[in-house]
Symmetry: C2
Subunit: 207 residues, 2 copies
DNA sequence: TTATATACCTAACAATCGTTTGGTAGATGC
DNA sequence: GCATCTACCAAACGATTGTTAGGTATATAA
């Protein structure tokens, strides 16, 4: 029976008696899963691949997670958390609406393209790659997108409906960048600046 | 030996002696594969799924295609062909640069969202879902993107580099729309109009 | 020292995967 | 009518999949 096993990376470790062995390789498991899910995708990455990359056997992963889907959800949640934290910091760094938007886009792109595997998994793995976990993945993503939407709140726009269209346009372009982005050619900050400049003239002239 | 089998849907049927049985279900195979690849993705769709949907057994698919990858390439190529034809027709329907762009976007979106399964496969399936076929898929997609780039050729833009950024911005937003689009709420034409309007003011005022 | 919880390993399970082999009904060419 | 080619079916192949059962070394709590 494994009813007493943790089955997930919980925030509160619960009242534990013995701390067990000194080596808990849960972090390595998450890192390995994030890297492989990002590189190859969810479906073609096997539990044996993840185990090997983390230095353990496939079966041992089930001490930490009840299923492959649950492991994906854990990686995905960490990815959303990191992107959200980066964008939140960017939003707090300025008061000018267009400047805030550009900073938010740059933070989003950096988390998506350069930072870590976790952020890339959020874009790479589609919810219906894991049907049983799809609802949880969508909820996580929606939570973040509500945060990103705040980056558009204060923009002075001309037409009704522009805000929603602008959000869909920008977020789509940013997320799709994972398809064509190659490090070295463009920087996330430069791309964000170009994208926002193309849209900035939507607002009435500042002067 | 199967050396004489067709192994693909060729344009020229070659000098055939006997036409075999009256029922050639290759079209049904392609339709079924396109539908399943779009609905579930490439990796999780099995040859048995495709065979069942086309009314035959999994092994029989190998009369038409040498591998699952080859079947994907055939579906993908048909998808690219359809999107390309739609955009090409849109480009020929107008001479005003911004109007041409809006029509091209509407055609791209329609092919991607409403028309058929084939077009959606091109966006849904990522080349590295099938590593051995990735090069062929990328070549097909690049061919189309060169066509789409023609929709931006005549736009009067302010800054150097705007054309590339505009292409990446627009194409990304259009392709990502598959993630959030729900039929009924927006129409492809309406979305294209909103997206292009947000960018149109990039150009100097026409008057 | 004994008991217990942790964090694994070993070995297997049934199911499913893409693919292959060999056979065959039916239409056509001669 | 005979041979040939087409477009399948039937049945299996070995490999791989996610997952589980049972055992074990280590560290802490008492």
């Amino acid at each position: 029976m494994r009813m007493t096993a943790p089955q997930a990376a919980r925030a509160a470790p619960a009242p534990r008696r013995g701390t067990g062995r000194a080596d808990n390789r849960l972090p390595q498991v998450l890192d390995a899963a994030a890297r492989l899910f990002r590189e190859r995708g969810y479906a073609v990455t096997s539990m044996r691949d993840i185990g090997a990359a983390a230095g353990m056997l496939a079966g041992s992963l089930y001490y930490h997670f009840a299923s492959k889907d649950d492991l994906l959800v854990a990686v995905y949640a960490e990815g959303v958390r990191r992107i959200g934290a980066a964008v939140e910091a960017a939003l707090a760094a300025s008061v000018d609406p267009w400047d805030r938007l550009e900073r938010a886009c740059a933070a989003h792109l950096t988390a998506l393209l350069d930072d870590s595997d976790y952020g890339q998994v959020v874009i790479r793995v589609r919810p219906d790659d894991a049907p049983d976990a799809a609802a949880r993945l969508i909820a996580l993503r929606d939570g973040y997108e509500r945060l990103f939407a705040r980056a558009l709140d204060d923009l002075p726009l001309r037409h009704r409906g522009d805000r929603r269209a602008l959000r869909l346009l920008l977020l789509g372009a940013l997320n799709w960048s994972q398809t064509w982005y190659r490090p070295g050619r463009d920087s996330p900050a430069a791309l964000a600046r170009q994208f926002v400049r193309l849209l900035r003239s939507t607002a009435p002239p500042a002067a």
